[in-house]
Amino acid sequence: MATAKKGNRLIGAPVERVEDLRFLRGKGNYVDDQSLPNQVYAAILRSSVPHGRIRGIDKSEALKMPGVHAVITAADIGGEVPVIPIRLQPLPEVFPLRQPVIAVDRVRYVGEPVAVVIADTPGLAEDALEFVEVDIEPLPVVASRKTSATDASLLFPEYKTNLAKKFTGLKGDAAAAFEGAHYIKKQRLSVQRHMALPMEPRGLLADWRKDIKRLTVYGAGKVLFFNRRAVAQMLGLEENSVELVENDIGGGFGARGEFYPEDFLIPFSSYSLGRPVKWNEDRRENLSAMNHAREMEAEYEIACDADGTIRGIRGHVDVDNGAYIRSNGLTPPRNVAQFTTGPYRIPNIHIDVSVRLTNKTPCGTYRAPGRFEGSFFIERMIEIAARDLGLDPVEMRRKNLVTVDEMPYPMATMQHIDPYTDTECDSGNFHITFDRCLKEFGWDEKVKLQGRNIDGRYHGVAAGCFIEGGAAGPRESARLKLESDGTISVFVGSSAVGQGLETVMGQIAADMLAVPFERVRVFHGSTSYVREGFGSYHSRSTVMGGSAILLASAPFKEKLCKAAARRLNVSEQEITLIDERAVAPNGASIEWKALASDDISAEESFTNTKHTYAYGAHCCHVAVDPGTGHVEVLDYVTVEDVGKIINPLTLHGQVIGAIVQGLGSTFMEHLIYNEDGQLLTGSLADYVVPLADDYPVIRGITLDDYPSPNNPLGAKGAGEGGIIAVGGVASNAVANALSSLQVEIEELPLTPPAVWASIEKQRLVEGTKN
């Protein structure tokens, strides 16, 4: 068998997205766009009390309202109330801290579901919420890490502590490295609570058909197969009588598609009423119900030689996890332990991470979980060390970057967590991306502005490096099928979450089969398409799904050849596949289309235990107005090597989008709770995100010089790299701008009031000295 190669034309080409054709006409199919005959609507009553004991729920008034069909509480679930399964790091010791899908006898955060009302219209359902009487006896609120650590009020009395879990990242011998070190610095640094905030709020439409014993749930995403198993188990159904369907999705960023309470409550409501039930959250709910992220504080120590060689890093991180351990709540803390040191050669590491429970919305992953935080911590530490040692921070980084000769380079090892925690950077040359970034940025010129006050604003620049982990295992499947019209259907277990998956997968498949892009149709987002799937997280769709397509293309072509050989009376080895025809040596040929009746299809999965590590660098130039604390980002540049670029157009878009999200994390976004455990930022008017006029100058460059050895495509996960180093690099630029004022940057976000206050504080200190 041979496939005539015309060179690979689509992989690496800026193919315009197929998804756009419907989105640009307003013809997308997001979950709220979908309806079923006879459907009713759910609204969820959420706790307004952050911590309390439920004494009773009276639903009689609500039930009397016309158009109200049911009010469901924990008591109506029957039997044990299910808990949200832990998908990543499923450590049995934290199982008691899993979230019940509806509050049973206690509420532990504002926004926790207490009851579900089902009614004829969304408006009626919402109105009826006010008539459900919930009697809650308030308990002392744990609203901060500090209070949590005292254990004076316990979220789970039977767990005996609010300390949910401890992780440790280790390498070498940190204690010995600090012994007698030339320079040691201890520093407190913290990242604020914020969130992924996809533009489309969550929604579900569940349809239980008793007659055929089949449950279909629309509005799923990210990890369809895992969630199907979970909901099937909870409802006592066979897995194959449940189908989860992914609609078009208005953004994921790690938070959408994880198993939330509603992922049980809405299917359960449909199951008990025997009617389709639709639910859509509003933004207020979304802000208190969807996973929060990133709230943690580090107290690190760094030890260096006089020449800037980093000997070690040690310390602890305190994570404010919120009230429960949700499906991936342990991922950010475990990542911060293992990946704080990023691309730097730090031979001795001892980082302890404490995951603490508080009466706030539970946390989960948000784009680059634990990595954004870790990068902020290490980049600040290095910048401070360079300043104290009188070294050029760029040179200090160069000196400590892992070199190409040290690949593969192992990360810290993790204590007591999951079976495959050891990991290493697979390939690459960190110095190339760093130098390229400095050059694109114009570092040598811009650094002359460092710390200078020009027309009333202080200028600062900074540079830093990162690694981006991707391609989490274990497996992903793809099935190729020849349709009777000669097109090829590609079914993948990955899901889309708005990153252009159909296009990228289509490019790979079309190239493998040497057919035009238009001849391939990609199907994803249903648990019926392939036997299993693992979903879209950890920057894995392209690498895992793409590799599976690549593997499946071989048996697919074999089948084509076999079928053609029979028709053309030659041996299968003599067939050449070209231009959607199978050609025999004598020139006789047959169209693929004509072979479709032979059931030409192949399914393969790609198995992977090793991660990929894309890597790169960021540079930032800011101007800070000391009068208002406003920071203007004058230039921002990233360079990243992703191993193999499949589609530069979509990749570039993700990089720029990620940087801007990172700038939001650094300068704006903050989920603020008061001491009473109430969320103060309950709308998009209070929770501020970047707008079009905030960061107009961003540049992203992507390379593929160092393919990954760990998958046949050579691709590395991408999509998070743009965000990882933003906190560290942008805050270093601000710190450098304000260096003459001795302002120390320790906390994100750097909102104008926060920056202004730290300048003022320093002025007062200086004032009292004089």
Binding site: M199, I656, G657, I659, L691
Partner: protein
């Protein structure tokens, strides 16, 4: 109550409850689900439609207020069987969308802007779409796309 409007050039009548927003009426009663809701609060711009030539937030307007008005939604910017217009072409070329959720609001806002001001420069475009939140793209590609589309709007205006 009964209202009349012209929706994407088709006159129609629809019975609405007084408390229904224009957004809900368009989405749920008239099947124009291209208009999206992301805040229902006037902040995000996802629900922007064009009413009598002006870009308005359909989550803040009651359907009854649209009585007698000419309304254009994203669906009305490209009748199905036609090619893309200049904005859609430019959005696709510049990859000015990812998840697509903010896109309808961006297109309607941009269309209203370029119809009135086809010469809008980057800064003007940025300040106008600063009323629309996009979480995916970082906006640069959106601004570039709108700017590029401006040329066709200019040519159209000159022809008219």
């Amino acid at each position: 109550m009964q209202i009349r409007m012209t929706l994407n050039r088709e006159p129609l009548e629809v019975e609405v409850m007084p408390r229904v927003t224009l957004a809900d009426c368009l989405r749920h009663q008239l099947g124009k689900t291209g208009t999206h809701l992301a805040c229902e609060h006037g902040v995000c711009g996802a629900c922007t439609v064009i009413v009598n030539g002006q870009a308005v937030r359909s989550c803040l307007m009651l359907a009854v207020q649209a009585n007698g008005a000419e309304v254009v939604t994203v669906e009305g910017l490209t009748p199905d069987d036609e090619e893309f217009g200049p904005l859609q072409q430019a959005f696709r070329k510049h990859n000015a969308l990812q998840c697509g959720f903010c896109t309808s609001g961006m297109l309607t806002t941009a269309h209203a802007l370029l119809t009135a001001e086809p010469d809008a420069d980057h800064e003007r475009i940025r300040s106008v779409i600063a009323g629309n939140i996009c979480r995916c793209t970082g906006y640069l590609s959106i601004v570039d796309a709108i700017h590029e589309a401006g040329e066709s709007y200019r040519a159209n205006k000159e022809r008219a």
